[in-house]
Symmetry: C3
Subunit: 314 residues, 3 copies
Amino acid sequence: MKFPSPVSVQWLADLIGARLLGNSIGFVRGINEIHRVEQGDVVFVDHPKYYDTCINSAATTIIINNETDFPEGKTLLVVAEPFNAYLTIVKHFRPYEPLAKSISETATVGEDTVIGPGVVIGNHVSIGKNCIIHPNVTILNHCIIGNNVIIQAGTVIGSDAFYYNSKKTRELWYRKMDSCGRVIIEDNVEIGAGCTVDRGVTHDTIIGCGTKMDNMIHIGHDTVIGKNCLIAAQVGIAGGVEIGNGVTLWGQVGVSKTLRIGDNATVLAQSGVPGSLAANKIYFGTPVEDAVVKKRELVWIKRIPELWKKVMES
Amino acid sequence: MKFPSPVSVQWLADLIGARLLGNSIGFVRGINEIHRVEQGDVVFVDHPKYYDTCINSAATTIIINNETDFPEGKTLLVVAEPFNAYLTIVKHFRPYEPLAKSISETATVGEDTVIGPGVVIGNHVSIGKNCIIHPNVTILNHCIIGNNVIIQAGTVIGSDAFYYNSKKTRELWYRKMDSCGRVIIEDNVEIGAGCTVDRGVTHDTIIGCGTKMDNMIHIGHDTVIGKNCLIAAQVGIAGGVEIGNGVTLWGQVGVSKTLRIGDNATVLAQSGVPGSLAANKIYFGTPVEDAVVKKRELVWIKRIPELWKKVMES
Amino acid sequence: MKFPSPVSVQWLADLIGARLLGNSIGFVRGINEIHRVEQGDVVFVDHPKYYDTCINSAATTIIINNETDFPEGKTLLVVAEPFNAYLTIVKHFRPYEPLAKSISETATVGEDTVIGPGVVIGNHVSIGKNCIIHPNVTILNHCIIGNNVIIQAGTVIGSDAFYYNSKKTRELWYRKMDSCGRVIIEDNVEIGAGCTVDRGVTHDTIIGCGTKMDNMIHIGHDTVIGKNCLIAAQVGIAGGVEIGNGVTLWGQVGVSKTLRIGDNATVLAQSGVPGSLAANKIYFGTPVEDAVVKKRELVWIKRIPELWKKVMES
């Protein structure tokens, strides 16, 4: 999430009650998680295991729970609970704004766009021209919809990420990491009925230009889908996934988190994708493999009884 | 889709700007895709590979992009882009009619039918007697619901088909084939919460009398489901499928497109159905097989280490 | 379902037109299915195979279609069609009450709870303090939601069970067993977008304190989920399941009916669970096995060609 305008590191230190070390005259432009962080961002870290990665990332300001070495020019903001500092920043810059009515007065809708009955459009939502938003669709706060987009009935755009910080104390097992990211639906995208597209936790969930999605598809937080993909019904894609251009996922495919699927890859129905996939290939199975290899394997399995017989006879 | 009344071939030629060859005094009753076409229908074809099939089908009028031989008595309508001619016909006879309010004035609702809050009922929808339509259900234009039907909350009936004409040019990869078909839900059907039933592209999607569906089931366009079927939660059925009577599909089963499942077949949970299945049998696996064969195979797999040991020892 | 106050066995016999045998001065506190029955309950049975189980269960009153032996102190209510008697009792004590408006006047909502636009809240629903009910959520009659609960957009709580009595006569294949149970969502639960949680048939469906659910999850009737579970997107859990505390189910897992998953078990993505699972283990596969065993099996399958070669060469 970018802040509406940059803030000084001192202002941010005051907001979260931090002790400031290092560069005290810098500015902060936004907040992001470590794998999405850009120059000018603040990032937070509370486990020594990740100190180095965070301090040496593109982030110029680091919220941390212990004093440690860091490069010149960067700023450390030391607090007891970096996670709470994160929540404080999100609540300040992107507070939860309940919707007073079905279509927020802060939403904008382009020319020739049709909005069906029962549709809910949240605060600060922007919808382009010539779209059809079918009945009972929900588009939540801060989402951005391009031109010529069709969203079919009952779909939810911009639900919160399924993202928790695990504590497992007697009182509290999971702390919700509040989402401050958005969903961006680019031009000419079509989304079927009964889909859910989660907003990014700190970054954006993006559906690329020209991509077509069937019904009941789940897209996790911060996932970025390329252009002109075809995604069949009941596919589930977890958070932080990157999908290239021209990718085809057939029905009921499941894609695990924070992996990459290369351009023009095809994943056959019901397959499970636990790791990254190279471009331009066809995949099948749970866990997924090259489809030719997998189908040959199914033939080999059929030959076990014959093999058994041969061994018994020899 | 049947037209409200038959139109002359000359009128249709004028509508789509076609050159008329052959029978110039015939009538056209409706439009359909090649696998659904009936006598009196017009069909369209733009690839020479399918010319013969279309010209020799039940269709009496053929929209085509090249002059070619055809049987006496039929009519050829020659245009540069048959796909666009299809869209023109659909837009004329079944234009997209946005919904001005939650329950259209052109919808009819039978006696003793209960409509919950948040329900959207589209134009030209007909709902029978003694139904319960639970809250936040969406029933889109032209759908027909029989008597004694229960539709649980959040379900969408009549969403558009996931059906595109692949172009893959730089400017446009996929052209949406506008749906003009309907959904017909017969008497005594019960549909769970959070389901989506797509309308037919040119024909009807039909759920047969007495069939019971659990939650979050996806039914694709033009699929016809028989009578007294049981479909468990999260099943996905692609487009153009024919399912017989008394069929049972257990949870999370996936069914691929344009295949047939015979009467009283049972498909066990999570199975994937890539091709047609015979009647009266039990199936399991991805890809699906006779359940007894598949379960025996799972036992054989368990014996590989034993087999390995035998071979190593011999 | 407990009755609002106990009724005399004689009053119940009159309601359903039964002949009363045995204890004629007892009281009945509620109705339940055999596997949920408690002392003071009435249960119904119409197949001699289950007579003994029902008569010797905790139930003190038994609706039955034939006279038979029974312990002293119990009451037999003899009717021709026990199933119809069940429906009569449900219709009397928990009749279907259509919703006249989006938020029922008999519902109660706690302090600081936010209700989004398009939300439907049924009759006799209770929602605690400090909850967020996102837009277009449906909460049906009699459901109970605790404090600090978040329910994301489009989710349905309290849909009817997918539960039929199979008749398979020419006129009627399935008789709907009307649901009279509730859904209880305990404190600090979070439920994602597009989920469906069915009410119990006679008992309650319960989501335990602190459990977090992702999007598009289906929970069947009478299922009881423990505390602090994590359930990923598109998981489906059938009816009558018991899930312990701290259980993790990854994406697209399917769980069959009336089984038990022990505390802190983890089931990996896309697995299918056909039977009960022990606590504290990791599981994988369809059908599910110990994940280590299953993954070793996948390695063994890869070695079949090598084994074949060895056998051919020997």
